[in-house]
Symmetry: C2
């Protein structure tokens, strides 16, 4: 099954699926700033575009361009900002 | 706007968006075999999983694992086969 998710009034949409290593989603983020909470550890890969992220316990925003990734621990929250529509892969591992 | 698309009874779903270089979609393909037609040139990147593709004018299926890509000319058709749920980025360029 491919699940359909949307957040922030449809400004973030994703499609969920399963892999042998755990759940994943691919999604698109509209320009804007968003705060996400994590229930599990997440590995976020920027597939196209750019995410500027404020990671837990950090004070500086950091840019992640396509081909790069960052990790967020379980039970935390992080902010991302996009200036263009940006595609991502999120692996819950 | 993030557009939602589905094909083959929901066995292929994608999210469409715009980049400065042209339209893109990220999507998920369920296990199975599918034939796609192209109106424009497409660059298909395997984001997670594996696609086995029969490209135009080819007689042999070829495996594309995550991190690899293939191109398909406009106005042609190609087949893909997935053995596991597979995420892709398609760039229309």
């Amino acid at each position: 099954m491919i699940t359909e998710n949307q957040y922030f009034d449809g400004n973030v949409k994703s499609l969920g699926y399963e892999t042998a290593e755990g759940k994943s989603t691919v999604g698109v983020i509209n320009p804007g700033e968003y705060e996400f909470g994590t229930a599990n550890k997440e590995i976020m890969h920027v597939v196209e575009g750019e995410l500027i992220a404020l990671l837990p316990n950090q004070t500086e925003w950091k840019s992640f361009k396509s081909g790069t990734s960052f990790e967020v621990e379980a039970n935390s929250s992080f902010k991302v900002r996009a200036e263009v529509q940006t595609a991502y892969l999120c692996q819950y591992r």
